[in-house]
Amino acid sequence: MECEHYNERLSEYVDGTLGAAETGAVRQHLAVCQRCCIDVRELRAMKQLLGVLKGPEAPSGFWPRMYGAIRARRQAAKAATGRREWLGTRRRGFAVAMAAAMTVLLAFLPTVQQGPEAWEMRPDDLIALHALSSLRNPLGERGRIGFVLSEKDARDLGHPEGGEFHED
């Protein structure tokens, strides 16, 4: 009963629209309820991916590091006087800029790799999900559907020919 009470508030908790007291109460409940933790994880994944929440954020500490790098570069540029010093600063500035650029790349590289172009639906994955739900049907063809599912699992297990999809 208590779990159900908190479970109904998980969506708002993830959206950040609960009051401070309720947020605290949900957080306390999450510390002891594995089931609700799983639900929160699913909700976060779903809402973020659907774009209901804000877009992907940079990793924690990214922006302070970036601002720090910019400040350091400005200060270094101001302090530069002689050619040697100037060269040293330039090198440091270049290194900082490179580090910043690399940080940007590293921060957003996973997003690029998981982008639309890299992800493909597989018909046999979709059919396996469909077959799994069809298995519940008591009058369904369990033999055929079971085979469809086992073929998918065979592919996942690295069977050389398992799970092949029959094409037209």
């Binding site: 109904e8 998980l10 969506s11 799983i38 639900d39 699913e42 909700l43 994944a45 779903m46 809402k47 991916l49 659907l50 774009g51 209901v52 998981q114 639309p116 172009e117 992800w119 493909e120 639906m121 597989r122 018909p123 046999d124 994955d125 979709l126 059919i127 999900l129 469909h130 799994l132 739900s133 069809s134 519940r136 049907n137 008591p138 009058l139 369904g140 063809e141 369990r142 033999g143 055929r144 079971g146 085979f147 469809v148 086992s150 073929e151 699992d153 065979a154 996942d156 297990l157 690295g158 069977h159 050389p160 020919e161 398992g162 092949e164 999809f165 029959h166 094409e167 037209d168």
Partner: protein, 350 residues
């Protein structure tokens, strides 16, 4: 002339006897009802052959030797096709194992809760009765040496597959299923070619003990199940639902699952015999591999249609949301597209 009353009496008795005999046999509905629960209470082993007619007019035969102890415990040993030979699928009701001898790898995953089965049976039978009519073969038949009642399940509306069941007269177990596509072509036949009913089977058959050198990997849970109210409460307008379903289909269940690393919401609809699945993935332009599909228009959107056995898979991007949708079912292309065109985000006011 004196013989006439005797003849009339004899004819009357024959008619009465014939009526009694006809009424004495169970009705098709009673046989189906018995068949629904038979697999829950029986222990048996036997050889099953499944023949599938594929979309390229080829056939594929699967032969298994199976042990069943109630619904939740079974062991399936694959004998054919060659690529599946030696494959083992075992469940003890709590876990499901699959072993692939070619790669010497095995997986284990939770078997999944199977609660609310009786209510689901009632729901399925009620839908079945409203969408299909039943016809019994008067003579019955035999499968694997056992007497069987033959029931044809025929659609009341065009465009749906039909099915014929051979149901063991003594136990109610379905011994053979013949399935016909909505265009009348055979899609699959599964039948026991040998069957032995047992009082019980040893528990050791339903657990998997990986031998030396076999890599066993644990798979995650298949996902969470929701009813429609819970799903709406949970995801609100992030959920896409069909506004128009194919004839006779009703919402059956929903779940959140994982599809190649992406969280996917899955909704299942049934007409009592067939299932239609809608899968939505929060990914713009998720697409089917071009080699196994063809381009098809869903409204103004370019989608892809693939056939896997006799399942059709229609995938298309939603025009205004970063979401890719898929419909999977044994249904005509036109009917799938009609449903697909009606899929829209859930209104918060519904």
């Amino acid at each position: 002339m004196k013989i006439r009353p005797f003849l009339l009496l004899a004819a009357g008795m024959a008619f009465a006897l014939a009526s009694v005999c006809t009424q004495a046999g169970p009705s098709a509905e009673a046989i189906l009802q018995k068949a629904l629960s038979a697999s829950d209470r029986l222990a048996f082993e036997g050889r099953q052959m499944v023949t599938m007619w594929l979309s390229d007019r080829k056939t594929e035969a699967t032969i298994t030797y199976e042990y069943h102890h109630g619904r939740n415990r079974y062991r399936i040993e694959y004998l054919a096709p060659r690529r599946a030979r030696g494959r083992l699928v075992i469940t003890d009701g709590k876990s499901r194992w699959q072993y692939e001898p070619a790669s010497r790898r095995a997986s284990v995953e939770p078997a999944g809760a199977d609660d609310g089965r009786e209510a689901f049976f009632d729901f399925s039978l009620a839908l079945l009765k409203s969408n299909y009519r039943f016809e019994m073969e008067p003579k019955g038949g035999a499968v694997a040496g056992r007497r069987a009642d033959i029931v044809h399940i025929l659609p009341r509306h065009t465009g749906k597959p039909s099915q014929t069941l051979w149901v063991d007269s003594a136990t109610g177990l379905i011994l053979k299923i013949e399935r016909t596509h909505h265009d009348g072509s055979l899609t699959s036949v599964s039948a026991y070619t040998e069957i032995h009913f047992k009082p019980s089977l040893p528990a050791s058959l339903f657990t998997f003990n990986p031998g030396r050198g076999i890599i066993l990997t644990a798979k995650g849970n298949a996902g969470s199940r929701y009813d429609l109210i819970a799903l709406r409460r949970r995801f609100g307008s992030a959920i896409f639902l069909p506004r128009r379903l194919a004839c006779g289909y009703r919402f059956c269940s929903a779940g959140v699952t994982s599809l190649r690393g992406k969280t996917a919401v899955q909704m299942n609809y049934t007409d009592g015999l067939n299932t239609l699945t809608l899968i939505q993935v929060p990914q713009k332009n998720g697409r089917l591999p071009a080699r196994s599909s063809r381009i098809i228009m869903v409204g103004s959107q370019k989608g892809t249609l693939a056939s896997g056995g006799h399942f059709e898979v229609l995938t298309w991007p939603h025009p205004s949301a970063p979401t890719t949708l898929s419909l999977i079912g044994d249904m005509s292309e036109a009917a799938l597209i009609r449903v697909a065109r009606s899929v829209s985000p859930e209104s918060p006011n519904r």
